[in-house]
């Protein structure tokens, strides 16, 4: 669109699809997860009620967010945690860095947190002489490759095991050509264990923060968050303001939905609750806005803050599965990312709401009932108003609108176009300008439109009751390709 700093989704997607075999592999890997999700959700008869309940709880919490945030702060502080407030990514990074510096921490282990990705915490800490190691296996793999995660739950889903084998051989000195997953996982564990033991502090994200108790809940499958905050004496938990839920009783609604939606598991392997620091240790909770208040204030996009980051919309999205997470050029890719990204920076992410067929699968799979595809449509309108949709598109749609306001212009235009399609030689129709025709034929262009056939039939039949067989069908099925 207005010259974003990165390539647009359509171009990156096209590059991804160029390797058709790989795109197919990527598609099947994610479809496999979607099917696992289906099997798990089928075991819960009240699934749709759970979704509604979860959505209601989130909407209630968002409506009373200032109240619940303050209640959370009070209760967390009572248990000895230190609560910090960050307006944006920059303030968040500074707060985290200051805590680490004051403590004298040099080596940090971090479990998966999309918020710290969103704030680009790692490069900031590295600039300040602090080493950060991502301890989620997938996240660590993409960190070793110096690339961003391509999925919010499975960060390395785009990488094949052979490529991981090569990466580990190069970076960790594992056996060349050995891509046995168990071998590679053991090697990763061996290397990560040393990082855990040496760490001065652990950073985690937060899946849920309970206002009535002041506790935070972290869900992982690898136990890396628990190890990362149990060995060092300093734990920093970073969360967006939308992670709040009112009471502990509400938690089970979400834990039942999260694991099933994310990876088709009944529950994540670890659901860890942190209520204040351990004796002799410190717990800091950094609560970040970074644009969320603006989303909360917008009627159209408010319920996107329901998101519990399960990634189900990515696994189900037919475009995401075939274009890969990196084609979105955003920390959170896929359908939900395409709503969140333009609210951060419409100019640079204005292409994302168009990277979608509006099929609606994301909205139906979403465990917290975000109307994702309708919000993507609304974003298209917002972008057109901001003139971020290219002028060619806006101009052609305005012209089409003028034509369509005048039935005779439309009819004559249609007739001329169909005639042209019938008489023009193939090379004139199928050329570089015709994106439709690159890998597809255009529909056959019949001599008569429906309105012409309908009119003629009225003239010849009069008002007599229609017979079972009408002759008009032959003319239109004249399929001389």
């Amino acid at each position: 669109m207005n010259a974003p700093v990165h390539k647009e989704h359509a171009e990156l997607a096209s590059e991804f699809v160029n390797n058709r075999q790989r795109a197919k592999w990527h598609d099947s890997s994610l479809w496999f997860v979607r099917q696992k999700r289906d099997r798990q959700t089928q075991t819960i008869p009240e699934w749709e009620q759970l979704r509604s309940l979860a959505s209601t709880i989130k909407q209630h919490t968002l409506a009373k967010l200032p109240y619940y945030l303050e209640e959370f702060e009070r209760n967390a502080t009572k248990m000895g945690a230190v609560v910090h407030w960050a307006r944006d990514a920059e303030e968040h990074n500074r707060i985290v860095c200051d805590i680490l510096k004051n403590y004298g921490a040099k080596k940090i282990v971090k479990s998966k947190s999309m918020l710290t990705e969103e704030c680009h915490l790692n490069p900031f800490l590295e600039q300040n002489g602090i080493e950060v190691v991502d301890t989620d296996l997938g996240e660590w793999i993409v960190q070793l490759r110096h690339e961003p995660p391509s999925h919010i739950v499975m960060p390395a889903i785009h990488i094949k095991k052979q490529e991981i084998s090569e990466l580990f051989h190069e970076k960790l000195g594992t056996e060349e050509g050995n891509s046995d997953p168990t071998y590679l996982a053991r090697e990763a564990r061996y290397h990560l264990r040393q990082k855990f033991v040496q760490a001065d502090a652990g950073i985690t994200g937060v899946n849920f923060a309970v206002a009535s108790t002041g506790g935070v809940v972290v869900c992982t499958n690898e136990g890396n968050a628990d190890l990362g905050v149990s060995l060092p004496k300093l734990h920093i938990a970073c969360m967006g303001i939308e992670k709040l839920i009112p009471r502990s009783e509400d938690l089970s609604v979400f834990t039942r939905l999260l694991g099933r939606s994310a990876t088709g598991q009944p529950i994540t392997a670890y659901t860890s609750h942190f209520h204040g620091p351990r004796p002799g240790c410190q717990l800091h909770i950094v609560i970040v806005d970074n644009g969320r208040s603006a989303i909360r204030a917008s009627q159209d996009f408010q319920n996107s803050l329901n998101c519990i980051r399960c990634g189900a919309c990515m696994n189900t999205c037919p475009v995401y599965r075939r274009s890969g997470g990196h084609s979105y050029s955003n920390v959170v890719p896929g359908p939900i990312g395409s709503i969140l990204a333009p609210s951060q920076d419409p100019k640079s992410h204005g292409d994302l709401p168009f990277a979608c067929t509006l099929c609606g699968s994301c909205s139906d799979v979403c465990p917290v009932k975000i109307d994702i595809h309708h919000q993507l449509l609304t974003w298209r309108r917002e972008l057109a108003i901001k003139k971020i949709v290219p002028w060619t598109k806006r101009w052609s749609m305005s012209m089409a609108s003028i034509v369509l306001k005048h039935p005779w212009v439309y009819s004559v235009g249609g007739k001329v176009a169909r005639l042209a399609l019938r008489v023009m030689p193939r090379w004139m129709i199928y050329n570089g300008l015709n994106a439709w025709g690159k890998q597809r034929d255009l529909p056959p262009a019949p001599k008569k439109s429906f309105r012409e056939l309908y009119r003629q039939r009225g003239n010849s039949n009069g008002q007599e009751s229609p017979s079972h067989k009408t002759n008009v069908s032959n003319g239109s099925k004249d399929l001389k390709g």
Partner: protein
């Protein structure tokens, strides 16, 4: 048809305004004719107001709302006089029912229209209360669940949701003698058409279409059908380019008693049982 006898005088007296999507009017006139025949078989009074052009969905879907508003206004005026508006497209019906609100808000004319606009199968099922359709169609049929019909109009239950819904499309077709339905690996994945997406994201769009057709081929589909000609236009384009032996028909054409032809060779294909 015996079904017509089931209807009361009130039903038979109603006037149905036919909404034929612009691209169907121009490129698939027989789908429009088949729709007329299906409704007239039921002795309904059907009228096609010739002033209609397009509902404005292409404009709305590209974000060009201001270009869509005048088309939506025209549409409401043109169809105001009918008791029902029936359309052989789930997507265009959804535009009227679910999205005109963004353009016309609480315009009283629109709110009336919203309640009386139906996709063809939905009209037969919800308004006329039909559950079966008589006729013969001895072919292996693959149903493409067009997304807007499926998830915006809820013509059938979708694989994401854990609830059952009435089958307003498959239900009708299953009454036809000799029909067999093919089992797909992915019963309701999008075909990749998506309006301007088909051109703006050509590579993904075609891969999605290829994948759908591959699924239908492995399942043994002879006739590919849907409630939306737009999805079928996209997949037919791939079928014709690659000479895939599969016929493409709109649901209305099957209900109207048409026989399938291969889209790239006008010879009739053999019935499944042969």
């Amino acid at each position: 048809m015996s079904v017509k006898n089931q209807f009361s005088r009130a039903v038979l007296a109603m006037r149905v305004g036919l909404f034929i999507p612009c691209y169907v009017d121009q490129f698939y006139p027989d789908v429009g004719m088949a729709t007329v025949e299906v409704l007239e078989k039921l002795n309904l009074e059907v009228d096609f107001p010739a002033e209609q052009t397009c509902c404005g969905q292409p404009m709305l879907n590209t974000g060009c709302t201001s270009a869509a508003v005048p088309l939506a206004k025209r549409f409401v005026e043109i169809f105001a006089e009918y008791d029902y508006v029936v359309c052989p497209s789930g997507s265009c019906t959804s535009m009227v029912r679910n999205h005109f609100h963004e353009l016309l808000h609480d315009d009283p004319g629109y709110l009336k229209l919203q309640k009386k606009s139906f996709e063809l199968c939905e009209f037969l099922h919800d308004v006329l209360g039909l559950t079966r359709w008589e006729g013969e169609f001895p072919y292996r049929v693959g149903i493409h669940q067009s997304c807007h019909g499926l998830r915006e109009l809820r013509l059938e239950g979708c694989s994401e949701e854990m609830r059952s819904r009435p089958q307003k499309v498959k239900g009708f077709l299953s009454g036809l003698t000799g029909i067999e339905f093919t089992q797909l690996k992915r019963p309701d994945e999008c075909c990749g058409f998506g309006g301007t997406f088909a051109v703006a994201q050509e590579a993904i769009s075609v891969m999605m279409g290829d994948d759908r057709l591959e699924d239908h081929q492995q399942a043994g589909t002879e006739v590919l059908t849907a409630t939306d000609m737009s999805c079928l236009m996209h997949m037919e384009g791939i079928i014709r380019r690659n000479k895939i032996p599969m016929a493409v028909m709109h649901v209305a054409e099957i209900l109207a008693g048409r026989k399938p032809t291969k889209p790239w060779k006008p010879s009739e294909i053999k019935p499944a049982s042969a």
